[in-house]
């Protein structure tokens, strides 16, 4: 067990494995310098509000704490540097700084493991729906052998015992998450040719002739598929007026 705030090597994260240090040194620093995006997924995607969006898989994007300390430390983020290039209290709130050890440095990570979420989403759950629950939590640390404690109340949508979660970093790639239960829906595998995704707003002409275009692209075997006739409402907006040549000609 660690016995004091100042014990250990320079990197408290490397020494202790503290989750708070992990957030402070890596997650928050990465976010503040725009290197990566991080998400937290609660309860393996269950209990999310069924809106068919990100909320429905219990996934929230997190941000670094936007604290204002008297030193103006938030102005010192340098994406070329590492965590120690910014002040130790860059991610510490007012109370944590005021009640920190007298010789506080980068090894002091405070005791309020809270940050904010990104975007203007409501992050509803079926646990809360339009009604939230307000919970009060206790935070504590020792600074110079003196106990410092505080309580904070938060409006929560996931909370104990629904607090199991996974932290992830976003791998930016053309991948989408679908409500596709692979084990159940593709019990025989994908096959050798892969799959095609038809977007919702695909042109009706393409939807009507999907196999025609897939065959034309060489993705299906030759089966001499013919095109479906164009639907009346898919015809061109400007129609050519039929001319009656005889009536338009003036007789001389």
């Amino acid at each position: 067990m660690q016995t004091a705030m100042f014990m250990g090597s320079y990197h408290i994260l490397k020494n202790s494995g503290s989750v708070s240090a992990f957030y402070d040194d890596i997650i928050f620093w990465d976010l503040a310098t725009n290197k990566n995006r991080y998400f937290v997924t609660f309860m393996e995607g269950l209990y999310g509000y069924p809106n068919n969006g990100q909320e429905s898989i219990g996934t929230m994007e997190i941000d670094y704490p936007h604290y204002l300390n008297s030193s103006g430390s938030t102005a010192s983020y340098d994406d070329q540097g590492n965590r120690i290039s910014a002040r130790y209290d860059a991610f510490l709130d007012y109370w944590e700084v005021e009640n920190g050890p007298s010789q506080a440095n980068h090894q002091y990570n405070g005791s309020i493991p809270v940050t904010q979420l990104k975007s203007d989403r409501y992050y509803l759950t079926t646990l809360t729906s339009s009604v939230s629950t307000v919970r009060t939590y206790h935070y504590e640390h020792f600074a110079d052998t003196t106990a410092r404690s505080d309580t904070r109340s938060f409006s929560s949508s996931y909370f104990y015992p629904f607090s199991s979660h996974q932290l992830s970093v976003l791998r930016v790639e053309p991948t989408v998450i679908l409500n596709l239960n692979k084990e159940n829906e593709m019990y025989d595998g994908l096959g050798e040719k892969g799959f095609v995704i038809v977007p919702e707003q695909t042109h009706q002409n393409v939807k009507d002739n999907l196999n025609y275009y897939l065959e034309k692209a060489g993705l299906l075997g030759k089966a001499s598929i013919t095109k479906s006739p164009v639907r009346p409402d898919q015809a061109k907006a400007v129609r050519k007026r039929k001319r009656n040549k005889g009536n338009n000609r003036r007789s001389r």
Binding site: S16, G17, S18, V19, S20, F22, Y23, F39, G45, P50, G53, I57, T59, M60, P65, H66, D93, Q116, L117, Y122, T126, L127, V131, S132, V134, Y137, Y139, H141, R152, F154, S157, Y160, S163, H165, L167, V169, L170, R171, V172, P174, T175, I177, L178, N179, L180, N181, E185, G191, K193, V196, I197, V198, P199, Q201, H203, V206, Y213, K216, A217, L219
Partner: protein, 327 residues
């Protein structure tokens, strides 16, 4: 209206107030619509047609679908969902029926990704079809795009204790308030607290634990501690558990994803997640693990998200309604 010899025009000023005069000249005639490709009540449009239509003539092809039910341990587990990767796009010219397949490696990564995100937006419905007709399947006729930004590469899994102790982990309800200070630099702190008088940001937050020293051992692996006593008269040995065993709730991945390569020298994976936060040795944390909450799991009420929720019990006994009314 009449013409004079000097070509002066007599004009009735009241005409200027007519919609038929104003709209095409100054006010303009406009259609308004809330959504692209959809008609919405309140739109100003012709009939019930969408004001703006943007139809897609592209089909997306791929060979990789990874189940979200822990098929790949490096990805976040999302029950009943799958990570579907797009490798190629089939572009169709509606006018000429010409088709072209573009591989993602032949396009700028950003351009290809934007194309996928534009045509497969979050909340939208898609149809997924296997190209190998001989493969049996049970694919639903329609799926929803829940997330289109990429793959969620797991860093750690936190498993809440099943002993009934509050752990302080929560995911925020509501939109985070931007109650910045006078200089718009930031806030003093999160949560409703007597320590702050200027800000009160308690919505839209996330916490990964509670640092009360009494709950310190809740975030580490705890051995079972049993106290035994022998009755000197009867000679019977009795024992009772002082501390129940529970595993470390944090389980980090064996190796950080490639996105965090530049931090590999800063962490020791074997010890990462050993504790939530350093406390002190001056408090004996072995006899208590956390603050017990009074509400049993079975007391929580659920809803389907479409009706009014009674919500979970809270400290005041009644759920607090500080959110919008949802249909």
């Amino acid at each position: 209206m009449a013409n004079s010899d000097v070509h002066d025009v007599e004009f009735n000023d009241s005409v200027l107030d007519l919609q038929g005069w104003k709209n095409p000249r100054t006010e303009g005639s406009k259609l308004t619509g809330q959504f692209i490709n959809y008609y919405n009540d309140g739109d100003k449009t012709y009939g019930k047609n969408p004001v703006i239509e943007n139809k897609v003539a592209a089909l997306y092809l791929g060979n990789t679908i990874i189940g979200g039910d822990d098929e790949d341990a490096s990805r976040v587990v999302i029950k009943g969902h799958s990570y579907v990767s797009v490798d190629r796009v089939l572009i169709i010219d509606i006018e000429t029926d010409e088709v072209e397949i573009i591989d993602r490696i032949n396009m700028a990564p950003l351009a290809f990704r934007r194309m996928v995100q534009r045509d497969l937006p979050e909340f939208s419905r898609v149809n997924l079809k296997l190209l190998d007709f001989s493969t049996q399947n049970n694919i639903k006729p329609e799926h929803n795009v829940k997330f289109n930004q990429g793959t969620l590469m797991k860093l750690y899994t936190y498993t809440a204790n099943d002993l009934g102790y509050e752990d302080g982990v929560f995911g925020g309800f509501g939109v985070r308030e931007n109650k910045l200070d006078a200089d718009n630099q930031g806030i003093w702190g999160y949560g409703t607290s007597s320590a702050f008088s200027t800000t009160d940001v308690y919505k839209g937050c996330f916490s990964y634990g509670m640092t009360a020293c009494v709950s310190h051992s809740l975030f580490t692996e705890a051995e079972e501690i049993v106290s035994e006593s022998i009755d000197v008269v009867t000679g019977i040995t009795s024992s009772h558990i002082l501390q129940q065993y529970h595993p470390n709730p944090y389980k980090f991945v064996p190796a950080l994803p490639a996105e965090l390569n530049h931090y590999k020298g800063d962490v020791t994976m074997a010890t990462l997640g050993n504790e939530l936060s350093m406390c002190t040795a001056s408090i004996d944390t072995t006899l208590n693990i956390g603050l017990a909450i009074n509400d049993a799991y079975s007391n929580f009420t659920f809803n389907t998200g479409t009706g009014v929720s009674t919500g979970p019990p809270n400290t005041t006994g009644d759920p607090v309604n500080d959110g919008p009314a949802m249909g």
